[in-house]
């Protein structure tokens, strides 16, 4: 076993030594692996916008390449290997499920930099991770949801029960509850990042339960399309991308993932030789999370409050997880005035008090 791995590594190393000379090129090649199609209008679309920013910023000095619709698993490992062999100098893997593949391939190609979005494993020195504090945006959405719901039932379409998603649900609920103590939250798990049919089904299920504000953690515009069919009764939010086509309603605001600044920073660091392993987690303050325009479908006073909330989070004067907060089972999590440490957030596997239902186990 050990010996086999060693041989495999040696074989790869050798070929790189030979291949490396032939491949020597002045252009730095930045490569991107996408879990969905660029045309998803959400998550992957935004990552690709970031990739295009890199091209625009550095022009001739950088070449970009990408691959869409890469399944998470064995195929990801092959695509990453092909990219590394194909001369990519830095590879951004833009979905949580690429975590093991990214680390496995990174160990075989120590000279290629790997950047994994939303993961936590950095098993080799050439693997960095990056993420955005989306829960900050969820706080703003929760505030709007709590104010706007007439049925007092709000919904959330979860993708996978991972900490990233759970913290979004908790933040959304806490801020809705704060302005509307009667609010009830329903969560539907779609178990996919991108599947318009499943996302639409999830939205339908929520609407059938009487939910009139829907937030989603999946990548397509399908939930908004379902909300649009209700003739203004149900509102929702743009997710990952602005989804401006659904303005002014049902899309009343949005969380926009803005990856461009990070991608430009990292590729720039690679170009000028200052690149170092990192674990980046920026939010509204760093410009990675943008709150899309709050439309006129929202009353002016609610809009002003939501913007004030956004600005206080951006200024660092307010943390969306500020105690007292209890866990779902009633046990205390954060004491009065305490804010959540990042470690707690990154491993979050519990609902806060007041949310009914269970996280799928």
């Amino acid at each position: 076993m050990k010996r086999r791995q060693l041989l495999a590594t040696a074989a790869l190393g050798l070929s790189m030594a030979f291949g490396g000379a032939a491949l020597a090129q002045d252009k730095t090649k930045a490569c991107f692996v996408y879990v969905g199609p660029i045309g998803d209008g959400g998550w992957t679309f935004q990552h690709h916008q970031g990739a295009l920013d890199v091209q625009k910023t550095f022009g001739d000095k950088v070449e970009i390449a990408w691959q869409e619709n890469v399944p998470e698993g064995a195929d990801a490992e092959r695509v990453l290997t092909q990219m590394a062999l194909g001369g990519c100098d830095i590879i951004f893997t833009t979905s949580f499920g690429y975590m093991d593949a990214t680390n496995a391939v990174a160990k075989k190609f120590p000279n290629v930099k790997f950047e994994h979005a939303t993961g936590f494993k950095r098993e080799a020195p050439n693997v960095s991770t990056y993420n955005a504090r989306f829960y900050e945006g969820r706080a703003v959405q929760g505030h709007i949801a709590g104010k706007m719901t007439k049925s007092n039932k709000i919904g959330y379409i979860g993708s996978f029960p991972i900490p990233e998603v759970v913290m979004g649900i908790n933040s959304y609920y806490l801020h809705a509850k704060k302005v509307n103590p009667d609010v009830e939250l329903s969560v539907v798990w779609a178990f996919t990042w991108f599947d318009p049919a499943k996302e639409a089904d999830a939205a339908k299920a929520l609407i059938d339960q009487g939910v009139d504000v829907i937030a989603s953690h999946t990548d397509s515009t399908a939930p908004l399309a379902e909300a649009a069919k209700t003739g203004g009764k149900v509102i929702g939010f743009g997710q990952a991308s602005d989804m401006a086509d659904y303005k002014p309603s049902p899309r009343v605001s949005s969380i926009i993932d803005n990856w461009g600044p990070y991608y430009v920073k990292r590729v720039g660091a690679l170009l000028d030789g200052t690149y170092a392993q990192a674990d980046a987690w920026e939010g509204i303050a760093g410009g990675e999370v943008l709150i899309g325009e709050i439309t006129d479908a929202i009353p002016a006073d609610v809009k002003a409050e939501a913007e004030a909330l956004r600005d206080s989070i951006g200024a660092g004067t307010y943390h969306p997880f500020t105690g007292p907060i209890n866990k779902q089972d009633g046990s205390p999590w954060l004491a009065e005035g305490a804010t959540a440490p990042d470690g707690d957030l990154l491993g979050m596997n519990f609902y806060v008090e007041g949310i009914s239902g269970e996280i799928p186990k």
């Binding site: 791995q5 041989l7 199609p37 390449a65 691959q67 064995a74 194909g86 093991d100 936590f120 186990k361």
Partner: protein, 360 residues
Amino acid sequence: MLRLEKRPTPSVFWSRATPVLAVALTMIAGSVMFAVLGKNPFEAIRTIFWDPLFGEFAWYLRGQLLVKAGPLVLIAVGLSLGFRAGIWNIGAEGQYIMGAVIGAAVGLAVYPTENRLIFPVMIVAGALGGWAWAMIPAILKTRFNTNEILVSLMLVYVAQTILAMASTGFLRNPEGAGFPGSRNFSSYPAAANPELIAGSGLHWGGVAALATVVAAYVLLQRHILGFQIKLAGQAPRAARYAGVKPERLVLFCMGVAGALAGMAGLFEVTGPAGQISIDFNVGYGFTAIIVAFLGRLNPIGILLAGLLMALTYIGGEMASTNLGLPSAAIQAFQGMLLFFLLACDLLTNFRIRLAQVEAR
């Protein structure tokens, strides 16, 4: 004017020639599509069909062909037996998932015991898992005459839900900080399915696929059961007079297909995939249906068809990354292959005649 005339017996020549013709036509139509997209069609075709075999990185990609073709061939051979007998198992994807889940569960149950017997027992468990999942539509068909196409297909979605439960629940890695996904088999040697020769891409799944091709060939050519399968598909009534029991044939064909799909799932989860995860299945069970027909439901044909299909996947990925082709164009290209194959199949059963012949 052209006229179609049914052949008295299917043409052996065209049955062999249509796959080649279909590939050629796909290349031509694909080139047109690539050209319309503004890419150099010759470069695109070369990247898809030539580079993975003889290009700069062929030493790596040839092995990956085996990784990709192994499960396709294993599943397609099983499906082809049923298809020949007119038994339509469309749910191999579900059987593949269940094989992986059951087999992985057996391995993870004894973690971290080291014993030479663990992996073979897991293979048997995987085969049983797929077999049992296929027995549901099979028994429903023989007992209640339900439609096996619908039942087996619907069971794929049930299996996917069980897979999600497994990766977030009963098989979740207890040391994974609450994240979904099982332990990775690459760090559990007794249950792992690594490459047999480093860099070759060949793991036990590939070996099993080759063995299955040989076994299926022998079954169909030399064994009475193979004769019965062929007879049931070609002349169901004659088959009854010849003493073929249709119920037994359904149970056998569905069972073999399920067991092989389950084994494919087990080899994949312990090898290339490494772990049970929510997105573990990537459609091998469905693609294998195309492979089975592309290979003329013939074991050797399936072997070649599986390799060809793998080539379009891997070459397609390269074309996508290197030439910036959208992944949808690659999928359309693969779709053309099946389209042209079915269209050319007309030549096997029909003769094209000029209308003048009729006037005579």
